[in-house]
C-alpha cells in the first residue's frame, strides 16, 4: 500500500488522540487527523473550533475552521471571547494542534516572522489562536514535514511556548498546559524528554535515525528503543481519500 507523506503524518497524528478528548482543531492536516480519529478509534472525540463551535459533526471536510458545515449539527456555538476564555483559558481543552514555520529544540513555535520582526524577511500569518492554545491546552501536538529549515535550534520568534529554554522553565512560568507532547513528521515522531528537549521516539517504516538527524537543526538524540510506527491501514487511507479529502486538497503530492 503506498501513501503520501501527508497521509502518513495525518494517520499518525490521528492515532495520538484518545476517545473522549476535547480537541481544539486547526486548519489543514490537524482537521483531517481529528476527523479521521472520530471515524475510527475515537468516536466520542469532541471537536472544538476556535471560530466558536463545540462538538462539531461536519458532513464534509471544512476548508476553513469557520465553515458552515461545522455549525449544522454541532453541540453548541459560542462567541469568540467565550471560546478563548470559558473553554480554553479555563482549562476545558485536552488537546491543541499547532503549526508553524519553525519548531525548535524545546518545542517553541514560530508562526510570525522570519528575520527581524519590524523589518520582516518573510511575514507569516501570526499567532491566531496558537499563543493561548500552546499555553492552556492540556497537551499539544504538532504536524510538520521533517526539514532542517523547519527545525532550527532556536526559533526566530516565539509565537507560542513549548518548553522555553528547557529544564523546567515552562513549569516555572506557571502556564497550565503540559506543552507539546509529540511532533509528528514524515520521518517519525519527536517527543520531549524530562528536560523538554525534543528527541526521536519513533520512526516510520523505512525511515532512519540518520535521515532524521540530517534534517534537524540541532544534534537530534534518540531514545534507546526507537519504535517503528504501524503503516497506515487500508481503512485509514480509504477514509482519508474517499470521505475526508476526495479532491486531494491536503493529501495529494509529497
Amino acid at each position: 500500500m503506498t501513501y503520501t507523506a501527508s497521509e502518513l503524518m495525518t494517520v499518525n497524528a490521528a492515532r495520538l488522540l484518545r476517545d473522549g478528548d476535547r480537541v481544539f482543531v486547526g486548519v489543514g492536516l490537524p482537521n483531517l487527523a481529528c476527523n479521521l480519529a472520530m471515524r475510527t478509534h475515537a468516536p466520542n472525540l469532541v471537536m472544538i473550533y476556535e471560530a466558536g463551535v463545540i462538538g462539531a459533526r461536519p458532513s464534509r471536510l471544512p476548508l476553513s475552521i469557520g465553515d458552515p458545515t461545522l455549525v449544522s449539527g454541532a453541540c453548541s456555538v459560542v462567541g469568540m471571547y467565550d471560546i478563548f476564555s470559558l473553554y480554553l483559558q479555563r482549562g476545558y481543552v485536552d488537546v491543541g494542534f499547532l503549526g508553524g514555520a519553525q519548531i525548535d529544540r524545546y518545542g517553541n513555535i514560530n508562526a510570525t516572522v522570519i528575520g527581524d520582526y519590524h523589518q520582516p524577511k518573510v511575514r507569516l500569518p501570526g499567532s491566531g489562536g496558537s499563543m493561548e492554545i500552546a499555553a492552556w491546552a492540556n497537551r499539544c501536538y504538532i504536524i510538520t514535514p521533517h526539514q532542517k529549515r523547519r527545525f532550527p535550534a532556536q526559533v526566530d520568534f516565539r509565537t507560542s511556548a513549548g518548553f522555553l529554554g528547557g529544564c523546567g522553565e515552562r513549569e516555572a512560568s506557571g502556564v497550565r498546559g503540559k506543552g507539546p507532547q509529540a511532533v509528528v513528521t514524515d520521518l517519525g515522531i519527536l517527543q520531549p524528554d524530562e528536560t523538554g528537549e525534543l528527541v526521536l521516539t519513533a520512526l516510520h517504516p523505512g525511515a532512519t535515525l540518520e535521515q532524521a538527524q540530517a534534517n534537524t537543526g540541532w544534534p537530534l538524540r534518540a531514545v534507546r528503543q526507537v519504535q517503528i510506527t504501524e503503516p497506515p491501514t487500508a481503512e485509514e487511507l480509504r477514509i482519508l481519500r474517499e470521505e475526508l479529502d476526495p479532491q486531494g486538497i491536503y493529501l495529494k503530492g509529497s
Partner: protein
Amino acid sequence: MEKHPPPAKKTSAAAPALAKIPLWYNTDMTNKLCSLTEAIAQFVHDGDTIYAAGFTHLIPFAAGHEIIRQGRKNLTLARATPDLIYDQMVAAGCAAKIIFSYIGNPGVGSLRIVRAEIEAGRLAWEEYSHFSMISRLQAGAAGLPFMPMNPTAAGDLERVNPNYRRVKDPYTGREVVTVPPLTPDVAIVHVQRADVHGNAHIWGIIGEQKEAAFAAQHVILTAEEIVDEAVIRSDPNRTVIPDFVVDAVCPVPYCAHPSYTQGYYDRDNAFYLEWDKISESPAETQRWLEEWVFGVRDRAEYWHKLGEEVHRRLSVRPRLSHPVNYGDY
C-alpha cells in the same frame, strides 16, 4: 440621514402567528433603513478605524467593496482575520494600517497582498493573538479601561507590541497580561435578519459581531433580510445586536460572498482558492478589482454577474432547528 419607509413586502414572515406590535409603538420614528452606498458615505471617513466583523462567517464584503468604490483612504483596518476583504481593500489603496491576529487566507495559505505590503514596509501593522484581539474589543464593548488575561509564557508578541502590558493582580499578587480597549470609529456587521430599527438576529458562528457593535462609535448593519419587528420579538434570545447601538440598517442580500451567511448561502471555497492565484500578480489583482468592484454598481449587480452556476453551487438545503416555546403569558 435620509430615511426610507420600511419595505412594503416582508420577505421572511415566520410560519407561526406573530404577536401584534401595539399601535402606540411608532415604528417609523426609529427607522434607520438606507442603502449601503448612503451608509458608507455618511459614516466612513478617510482616516477612520474600521472593524468589518465576522469570524469567517458573515464577512461584509459588499461594504468593503463600497468603501473601495467611494475611494476612502488612510483607513486603519481592524479584524482578527483580515481575510480577503482587507486584502482587497489594501490592494485598492484604502489602508494605512492594519490591526490583526491572523493574516492568512483561511485553509489556503498566505494573505498575499497584506503580506507583501508589510514586507515592503508600506503598511503599518499592529499585531495580537486572537484572544488578545477579542479581549480588546470586549474591553471596548464593556467600557473597561483594559482586559486582563493569564500569561502565555510565549513572550515575543508582548515584547514587540507595547500595547501589551503586565499588571499585578491586586488579589493574588500574580501578574496578568493586559490589553487596552479597541473602539473603532465604525463597525460593519452583517446579519441574517434585522428590523428597520436595527434589532438583529444572528445564528451560526457569532464570532465578535456583538463586541464589535458595542465597541464602535457607529454601527452599519447589513442584513440578508429586513423583517417585521414581530419576527425579531418572536425569538428575543436570538437578538445579538439591539437597535440602539445601530446607526444604519442596509438591506444587502448576498453581502457576505465569498464568505457566507449560515442557512442562506455557502462559503465560496473555490473563490478563496482562486484568490490565492489572482493575488499573486498585482496586475491580475487590479484587473479583478476593475471588473468585480468598480465594474458593478452594487451588490445586486455583483451577485447577478456571478451567474446562475455560482448561485446554484452556493445554494443550501434547509436544516431547521426545533422550535422553542417562549410561552404566552
